[in-house]
């Protein structure tokens, strides 16, 4: 059942994943592989379950059917202790940053280290400053999370996510709601983090330009299934109708502009008849 984590085996394998929330089907037989050491972006329209996918990978949700392996371990079958051990090697960057509001920037980055290691205070301090320097916020260490801008909060969260030197990092909508400069900073940080630490990066996003620029592999999902997958240029070259509409942001196409319903003509005529 368990695949051994060989260096060139995929980091994450998802097979026949089915997941529903209430009556709404989020994933219907979805399969994908996420290669080790690369940047993979999962793209799809809002509500296509991108964030849910990250939670399933992190073991916060359980699939209704199908399996997810991370590093050769099947996530849903792990005991709490082993799941936590696995999570120590995963970093996750939430869209809001999800910084702990009662701790300073420094203590937020120090948090996973304090919880999971017994490092002496001076070593811990050095480590935290290293991580903060990597995201350019060493001087902001004493600030309160409430006083940070959205972009800064995300950078602190990134420093926190890499504090334990994970080998997988997941980004939930890292580009949403940022000004162009901050956007550029985050893009280069993600790329740089991936290269310098040699970790596997998984992004979910619907910002096409940034995601295409940054990724080694792009997976498009819609309607609970993988619609298309491949390297960005490859994908642009042979995109299906749906993918082309998504990647170029056309308002109408296979995904209709109008919410599905009865025809406009019938609706108007029907209304007149009622009068």
């Amino acid at each position: 059942m368990a695949e051994s984590p060989v260096a060139d085996s995929p980091h994450i394998v998802i097979e026949n994943l089915c997941f529903r929330r209430g009556r709404k089907v989020i994933f219907d037989d979805l399969s994908m592989r996420i290669p080790r050491g690369q940047v993979t972006t999962v793209m799809g329209p809002s509500g296509s379950g991108k964030t849910t996918l990250l939670r399933l990978i992190g073991g916060q949700l359980r699939p209704d059917r199908g399996r997810i392996w991370v590093d050769g371990q099947e996530v849903a079958r792990l005991s709490t202790r082993r799941l936590y051990a696995l999570r120590k090697r995963m970093g996750m960057l939430f869209q809001s940053g999800a910084l702990l509001t009662d701790l300073s920037v420094f203590e937020n980055v120090a948090f996973p280290l304090r919880e999971h290691t017994d490092l002496p205070e001076d070593v811990l301090q050095t480590l935290v400053l290293l991580k903060l320097e990597a995201v350019g916020l060493r001087a902001a260490r004493d600030l309160d999370p409430a006083s940070l801008s959205g972009g800064m909060a995300r950078r602190v969260a990134l420093a926190r996510a890499i504090a334990l030197d994970p080998d997988l990092i997941m980004y939930d909508e890292p580009f949403t709601g940022l000004d162009p400069i901050t956007m550029g900073q985050i893009v280069s940080l993600i790329r740089r983090t991936n290269q310098s630490l040699g970790l596997t990066s998984v992004l979910v996003s619907h910002d096409v330009a940034e995601a295409m620029a940054i990724s080694d592999q792009v997976v498009l999902i819609a309607g609970g299934q993988v619609v298309d997958a491949g390297a960005p240029d490859e994908l642009e070259a042979r995109a299906s109708d749906w993918s082309a509409q998504f990647l170029q942001g056309r308002p109408d196409g296979p995904v209709p502009f109008h919410y599905p319903g009865s025809s406009y003509r019938d609706d108007l005529l029907g209304q007149r008849r009622d009068d």
């Binding site: 992190g58 120590k88 995963m90 996750m92 809001s96 702990l100 996973p112």
Partner: protein, 260 residues
């Protein structure tokens, strides 16, 4: 008609489901309690925010409740020429009833609502989720210390409330209305029984502390992650806690004094 029955059934099922979840939540918190001994610092911080910060409202309320008891007790007792018994009346009312009950109601309003709002906000801003993803168990890191802090603080606050109330009664009775100072305290000593009165009050305050903190922490944990959800959960904490305290007080009083 059928609709009414169906909706009654639905809401009872919902209520049962919430109660079940609250119970599972409680079991999980109880299973994480060893963290309190291992990392006592976490609990101390919470005792400060739940208990110490409630001190002002408890002391002030205790003083006024005691003073009013002094007045009311005197007015009634003096008719029977028993004004010296004031100390006993004030102490018994406080230690048996008003201390635990009023403290629990104030505690629900001050500390319980704050706990719910804090936890609800942590949930809404994904802090709890982020903690889980950092392999930190929120039951151990967040819920258990808060639960213990509330459970420990509430009986202490009730004791302080009663002590301050006795002094309030003294101020009015002895200072203002001229009851004999010695009689005030000797009467108090004579009629207040350790097991019957003080201990029963302490047991009440422990039960109330447990229930109010359970409700407050669970409501925060269970809040819908929206601003509307937090406000609803906070209101629920105060309403449900208050009703639970008053209902339980009746039951406990019946159990303790009913057969006598």
């Amino acid at each position: 008609m059928i609709d009414a029955i169906a909706s009654l059934g639905r809401s009872s099922l919902n209520a049962l489901e919430v109660f079940g979840r609250a119970f599972v939540f409680l079991l999980r918190v109880l299973a994480s309690l060893d963290v309190v001994l291992r990392r006592f610092g976490l609990t101390v911080v919470q005792i400060h925010s739940v208990g110490v910060r409630s001190l002002l409202i408890i002391v002030v309320s205790g003083l006024f409740v005691g003073m009013v008891l002094g007045y009311q007790g005197y007015i009634t007792l003096v008719n029977f020429g028993a004004a010296e018994a004031l100390g006993g009346v004030v102490a018994l009312s406080l230690v048996r009833e008003l201390g635990p009950v009023v403290t629990a109601l104030l505690f629900a309003g001050r500390a319980g609502s704050a706990l719910t709002a804090e936890l609800g906000l942590m949930k809404t801003t994904e802090q709890l989720s982020a903690m889980e993803m950092m392999a930190v168990n929120p039951y151990r890191r967040i819920f258990a210390p808060r639960f213990v802090a509330g459970f420990v603080s509430m009986p202490l606050l009730a004791a302080i409330f009663s002590a301050v109330g006795v002094m309030g009664g003294y101020l009015v009775g002895v200072g203002l209305l001229g009851v004999d100072s010695g009689a005030y305290f000797s009467q108090m000593q004579a009629v207040t029984d350790w097991n019957e009165d003080v201990l029963s009050g302490v047991i009440k305050s422990i039960v109330f502390g447990f229930v109010v903190t359970w409700i407050a922490v669970f409501q925060g944990f269970n809040a819908q992650p929206t601003s509307e959800g937090i406000s609803r959960a906070t209101t629920q904490t105060v309403v449900i806690s208050s009703l639970a305290v008053l209902g339980l007080d009746f039951i406990l009083t019946g159990l303790m004094f009913g057969t006598g």
